[in-house]
Every structure is written in C-alpha cells, then in structure tokens.
C-alpha cells in the first residue's frame, strides 16, 4: 500500500486514540480531507522542483509506534546542551519522555501539546492560535490531521525566560521504519523573550521520516530566538514546516544549522502583521555524501516599516545537493520595507550542486529590497596563504569554511550553543582545531 493510502486509512485508527468531540478534531477531519486531495508534493510543483520526496516515501513507515522504549540520559547526553540549565521537552519515538524532560507551569507554560489539546485551561489559547497560520498544503495538512503531540509553549506578557527551552525528538529504531509528526505551538505574548532549540535525532539506521509543523506567534514587542539543529543520520529525513506570525515591533529569529540527514526540507514562513517588525532567518548548511538540504523561505511583508534579513551559507561536498528558494512578498501597503536576502555557497566537489532562486514580488514603491546569491569554490590563494603558515590542507579548508560561515555563527546568542555548533562543524570537517571562534 502506498504511504498516502496507508496514512488516510490510519486516520480511523487514530480517531480511537483522541477525543473526537473536541473542536480540534473538526480541524483534523478537515485536514485529512485536504491531504487526501493534495497528497504529497511532487517535482511538478514549482516549490518542489528540485526536491523529490520519492526516495523517502517508499518505506513502509509505522505511523503509530507500538512499543515504548526508555532512554538513559547518559546515553543521549551528548545531544543535549547539558552545560546550562534549561527546560526540556523530550520525545522518544514520538512519545513524551517525562524521565528526560523538565517542563514547567510556573508563570509560563512549557509542556505538552497533548495536554494543551485536551485540558480546559488551555482551551482559549488553542482556540485562538492552533492551526491559525499553518498552511493548507498537503504536508502541513497531514500533520494537522494527526496532530496530537509535540511541544506547547506559552509565555505570558512581560516575561524574560532566562533558561532556553530544548525540544528534542529521539527515534530509537524500535520500529523498522517510523514516521513522526510532531506538532508544536509557541505563543509569546507582549514584551516577552524566549529562546528555543529544536533537534531531531535518530539513534539507529532504520528509516525515519519526520513531518513537523511548528506555529509561532510573536506578539507585540516579543522576541523569539529559535535555533534548529539538523545533524541527523543518513537514514533520517526531515520536513520542517514552520510558520511565524509577528505583531508590531516583535523580533523573530530562526537559525537553521543543517549538517546531516538524508533529506531535509525547511519550509520557513513569516507573516508580518504589524509595523516595525524584524524577521531574521539565518542558516549554515554543510553536507556531503548524497545528502540533500532544501531551504524554502517566505516572508510576507504586509504592513509598513518592517524589515527582513536572510543570510544562508551553504558548503556542499561529494554528491550533496542544495536548494535555496527565498520568496519575499511586499504588499502594496508595506511601504518603507527593508528586505535583504543573501545566499552564498561553496561547492567543494565537482559533483555537488546547488539551485538557488530568489523570488521577489514587490507591490509597494518605496521599499529597499536586495538579494544576492553566489556560488563559488574555495579560494585557492587563501588556501595557499594558510598552508604556507604550516596549516595542513584539511585544517586550512576547515578554517576557510568557518570564516565563510562566521557571520551566521556569530549571531548565535547562546554561547554554549555556539560552541557546540562550532564543534559539530569541526567534527563534520574532520578536524580538531583549537581555535575558538
């Protein structure tokens, strides 16, 4: 049976596990119908021209893991930012792990979507925010149809959340192939500030497909710093659908670090609903082998005096392929918009490739929009310079790649996270260099 049919027919089984009388379930029912019509995207669709899901859809994924498996903290410690105090929302094969988590209801809610969707005290937030900005395409609808678990974060107004929140999804290989569909909701109210780190980590070589949807609401003057670490095994694929709604004077930054996984697709969508909003997306992609990373961004400038900044760096080795598709829409009312977009790439091998496409739709006349993409090789004269100082070829290459991605790394505001990413990069490049950036 094809995955699509399997999923559609699994919906009935899913209905036995959730409260079908809740308003949320009407949304789910609607969504499964949409998925039935839309299905999975194909290369015939413009937005998927360079990314084919065929190779990841061919597995016979379990949709509901049958067994639960516990993990010991010591065995997965390295995937945590354990050097600092943080809130943690941890899932193992899609199931919440209270053992590894540290949630809170003390002034803020850092907890589970399953609670939020069922408990009366969250009803208002769910009514106001759940599935309000997620798009109605096939993949997001599929996630919506099966939405039951994930992270739920609500920061009421005037809170500076000092501890970062880590959301980690582990898959253990308990199932021969597993599909996960986490559903996250983040609501940050007026003047509040939150930092979130999200990571998906497979612990086995069994195929994993994650189709995740995250809705983020940055209300008036809120600041949201969101970091995505994508450094998974070559058998794990991720489709990340993130939707951000911003109100006036809010700042929302998403950093996406894509270092691994079989296929990674990041659909990152910003909607600016207010004035003087700052939307920032930055990314570093370093991949090799036959890995594929696709960044598909959208910034919708709806009101005047807002900014958006995009800065994506990509380094591609072996037969790796990359895609950057950055769409910026500036509505007629959105005068004085400043929109910047940069996508710089280095191809290390002759077989690696990148397709990069800026897409600007500007309907206002008093705006400043710029975009630039570059594709190049490593600078030979810089290599000679470093090597002539005694730095071997591999290390010299790594140093240049660090230099290349430096301005993205530099804007990571959590020092231990920056450190960790630096180490992942060094590891990825096979070097052990002592310079701290």
């Amino acid at each position: 049976m094809e995955l699509k049919e399997k999923l559609v027919s699994s919906f009935m089984a899913f209905e036995n596990m959730v409260d079908i009388d809740s308003p949320v379930h009407d949304i789910r029912t609607e969504a499964i119908k949409t998925f039935e019509v839309e299905g999975f995207p194909t290369k015939r669709q413009e937005a998927w021209k360079y990314t084919s899901l065929n190779s990841v859809l061919k597995h016979d994924y379990s949709v509901f893991p049958k067994h639960e498996k516990a993990l010991e903290f010591k065995d997965v410690k390295k995937y945590f930012l354990h050097e600092i105090d943080s809130y943690k929302i941890i899932f193992i094969d899609g199931k919440y792990s209270s053992h590894l988590s540290q949630t809170t209801h003390d002034g803020i809610d850092v907890c589970l979507m399953s609670s939020a969707l069922t408990k009366p005290k969250y009803r208002l937030i769910i009514e106001n925010y759940f599935n309000k900005i997620a798009s109605k395409d096939g993949l997001s609808s599929l996630n919506t149809a099966f939405s039951a678990e994930g992270a739920y974060i609500h920061i009421p107004k005037n809170k500076l959340v000092e501890k970062p929140i880590q959301i980690l999804h582990f898959s253990t290989g308990n199932e021969s192939a597993l599909m996960l569909q986490p559903r996250n909701l983040v609501v940050v109210d007026e003047n509040s500030h939150v930092q979130i780190i999200e990571r998906h980590q497979s612990l086995t070589d069994n195929p994993i497909l994650t189709n995740s949807v995250t809705e983020i609401f940055a209300n008036k003057r809120a600041i949201v710093d969101y970091y995505k670490i994508q450094n998974d095994r070559s058998t794990a694929s991720l489709i990340d659908n993130t939707f951000i709604n911003q109100k006036q004077e809010s700042i929302a930054k998403v950093h996406t670090f894509s270092f691994g996984g079989k296929l990674t697709r990041n659909n990152l969508n910003y909607y600016q609903n207010g004035e003087r909003i700052d939307s920032t997306m930055k990314g570093i992609t370093i991949i090799g082998d036959k890995q594929h990373v696709d960044h598909n961004t959208l910034v919708h400038h709806i009101e005047p005096n807002c900014e958006s900044h995009q800065d994506y760096k990509g380094i591609f080795d072996d037969s790796a392929t990359g895609v950057f598709n950055g769409k910026v829409v500036v509505e007629k009312e959105a005068q004085k918009t400043n929109a910047f977009q940069a996508n710089n790439n280095v191809l290390i091998s002759d077989k690696a490739s990148i397709n990069t496409k800026p897409q600007l739709e500007i309907f206002a006349d008093d705006v400043k929009c710029s975009h630039g993409c570059t594709i190049g090789q490593l600078d030979e004269s810089a290599m000679f310079y470093l090597r002539s100082r005694g730095i071997p070829e591999k290390e010299a290459k790594a140093l240049l790649m660090f230099a290349f991605s430096n301005n993205v790394l530099d804007s990571v505001k959590i020092p231990v996270l920056k450190n960790r990413i630096t180490r992942i990069i060094a590891n990825k490049l096979g070097v052990d260099i002592g310079f701290d950036l």
Binding site: A382, Y385, S388, G390, A403, D410, F435
Partner: protein, 250 residues
C-alpha cells in the same frame, strides 16, 4: 641552507622562471630586485610551494633535501616562511587564534605537543612588543579591514612567532609609509641571526637602506642577470633597470 639549481617554472604553460641559480647560506640576506614582470614574486611563490606553478626543470634544495614535491605546509614545517605581498583576509578568525593554530600545527608535524597556553601568551606578548603591535589588534579578524601597513606588520609578526629558518619577504615594502617601513625592517633585523636567512624581494631600493643585504640579484625575464653587493641596489635606484636590460641584450 637554500640551493636553487637551474630552476624553470611556468604557470598555465607560460614559462616564467627560465633557469634560476641561487645559493643562500645561514646568516645571509639576499635581495632580489627587478622590473615588474621579471618573475620576482613567482620565485617567492615557487620556493614557498604554491601549487599553481609548475616546476619544469631544476631543483630547490633546503638543508640538503629536495623540497620540490612538498606541499606548502610541509615546507613551512621545515622552516620556510613567506611574507605575502597581498595577505588574505580571513573573517572570524582572530590574529591570535590563527597564529596559535599555525604554531601548533607546525609543532604537531614536528612531533611536539601543543605549546602550553602560558608560553604562547608570553611569546605573543614578546613578539608583539618587538613590532609595536597593540593587543587589541591581535583579537581582530585576520587581515580583515587592516590597512596596508597593518597587514605587512602582521605578516612580520607571524614570522616572528614562527621563527623560520628561511624568510622570504615578497614586496613587504609596497604600500608602507616610512614609519611603518622602519618598524617592519627593524623587526626583521631583530629576528636576524647567524642561523637564519632572509630573501628580500623588492622593486625599490629604499627597504634595503634598513635591511642591508649581503647580495643583490637582478632578475630579468626569468633569469638572474646580475649579482652584486648593496651598491648595486643604489645603482639601480639611480639609473633604473634599463641599463641592466641593455647589458643583457648586448
């Protein structure tokens, strides 16, 4: 220390060096002068091991060992240093971190442990004082936004840190005002010893007022066409290069 025998080198099938012979002994300073396009910078790059240059004939021998086939980093590990005419900017890597990496990679190649942090700090302090370098300068990104003078001073600082056996200064004087020139030359002189040697590549004589050469070679059309003492440099300054060219062609 360095023996270059009948060196022919080309880039993209274009012959640039056409038979260079040069013998540099420990403690010596050699100046290589010549008009633009004579092959001066190529000679420096070929000795340092730049891979886009093809050695077609001849050999480069360092302390009795043929280094033709070695990569630039291996030559550096053996004590070759080249100060670049156009140092490359490396954003995000500080001068300090860069030099630490260079020193420790060289030590690793020599089978030594990393230099202890306190020793490194002491060395950095000592050498930066020698070259009148501000501490703040050391935490800046390597060569990024440096003025011409700062870049050259930074090159000599790296040389001071790495203590090479053979230092090649490629047009180190270009783009320097007189004060910067004096500081750089002064640094080079303080680093001179009986055990190391310096090759100064320059178009003009003025640097040689400060770094006094034992030998001056004139490079023309890929060959050393004249060798003399420092007086030759003065003669070239006064009369230009045309008379040398004429002498060669006669």
């Amino acid at each position: 220390m360095l023996k270059i025998k009948n060196l022919h080198a080309s880039v993209e099938d274009k012959a640039i060096l056409k038979g260079i012979d040069l013998h540099v002994r420990p403690g010596e300073v050699h100046a290589i002068m010549g008009p633009n396009g004579s092959g001066k910078s190529t000679l420096a790059s070929v000795i340092a091991g730049k891979e886009e240059y093809e050695v077609d004939e001849g050999e480069i021998i360092l302390d009795g060992e043929n280094i033709d086939e070695l990569g630039p980093e291996e030559r550096a590990h053996k004590g070759v240093f080249m100060s670049f005419q156009y140092p490359v900017e490396i954003p995000g890597v500080s001068v300090t971190n860069f030099i630490k990496t260079a020193i420790n990679e060289t030590r690793k190649a020599q089978g030594l442990e990393d230099m202890p942090a306190n020793e490194m700090l002491k060395l950095i302090r000592e050498k930066s004082e020698l070259l009148d370098i501000d501490r703040k300068f050391l935490s800046r990104s390597l060569n990024e936004g440096f003025s011409g003078g700062e870049k050259k001073r930074n090159e000599i600082f790296q040389m001071a840190m790495l203590e090479p056996k053979l230092a090649i200064l490629d047009e180190t004087d270009s783009g320097l005002d007189i004060d910067a020139l004096r500081i750089v030359a002064n640094g080079v002189n303080k680093l001179k010893s009986e055990d190391n040697a310096v090759i100064v590549i320059t178009h003009y004589q003025r640097l040689l007022d400060y770094i006094v050469p034992d030998f001056v070679h004139v490079l023309h059309n890929g060959r050393i066409v004249k060798t003399g003492t420092k007086d030759l440099a003065h003669e070239l300054e006064a009369k230009g290069y045309d008379w040398v060219k004429e002498e060669v062609n006669a």
